[in-house]
Subunit: 200 residues, 2 copies
Amino acid sequence: MKIIVIGGNGTIGKKVVSVLSKKHEVIVASRKDTSLTVNLEDENSIHNMFKQATNIDAVICTAGEARWAPFSELSESDYYIGIRSKLMGQVNLARAATKYLNPGGSITLTTGILADDPVVQTASAAMVNGAIHSFVKAVALELENGLRINAVSSGLVADAAEKYEDYFPGHNVISMDKMATAYVKSVAGKINGQIIRVYE
Amino acid sequence: MKIIVIGGNGTIGKKVVSVLSKKHEVIVASRKDTSLTVNLEDENSIHNMFKQATNIDAVICTAGEARWAPFSELSESDYYIGIRSKLMGQVNLARAATKYLNPGGSITLTTGILADDPVVQTASAAMVNGAIHSFVKAVALELENGLRINAVSSGLVADAAEKYEDYFPGHNVISMDKMATAYVKSVAGKINGQIIRVYE
């Protein structure tokens, strides 16, 4: 398969690229520093990405940000950071992907455990993840040509644990291999409309 | 208790007002045609509402819209209709409410079964509902002064069934009494961070 991984230079993306590259042709895309660039907040940029990288069977998004802060400090515009980036960036990607992916192709989005099991300071981050979960389930009902859409929702991954573990008291640390396996399931399996939860 | 019901003239709001009025003082607010007016897309309007209606123990939101259309037809700006209205309208309400509600007071938001069990044409509507579910769970971790936040997620209610039943094949129709009881649980009970699902 020929697979685009957006955000393929990030903590999660790097591992996903490494695992998928063993059996597939993987193209890394990101906002900069890659031969294939894309800005998920700009629909035209997404269309340009798919026009450059033709004959794609699967697209994975591991990019997107949201603002972490105490609920009492999050402003309305803080919420819109996550809405424009991690939420609508991935929605825009899914919308465009249906026009370019090969029949039977798959779209894999990235959310996270905060959707189901939030911690403090994540009113915005949790919201964005939960939004994508329901979006994926709804979109799966309408895809044509055998296209599929899923989301991987992982807990705190090992390579980010040192930096973030104090924000996730009592949460399991997820091995990078286990996390990446969820993306393999979405891409190489046949599931559609699934939230692949990797929480322990 | 003194309770504000925003959207109290709508299908759900009317019934909630009728049930809560038996034991509480209920003030109906909406965008127009009520003595208390509020535009949830405008933070200042929400603050003005709470300044006019003082000494409030609970606020319920049954207002907010999202665009229904086939996934292939929903534009980026269509998604932002739901984001600005049903999603950020309720987020803005929750943010403001924490500054005005009496200690121990409660915030009750409205979502819907599409978050968990979507039907076709609801990529945007489902997304907004799922976003609120995760938001509520995250915010509940940080509220102070005994404040509480919950969401009521109902299936297709009886008073809307004639108009919408063809969009919800195989879904249970929820009695108006059962739906309203969920709001009573949120307001008069002590739960916090719950999604009260009324699906059968």
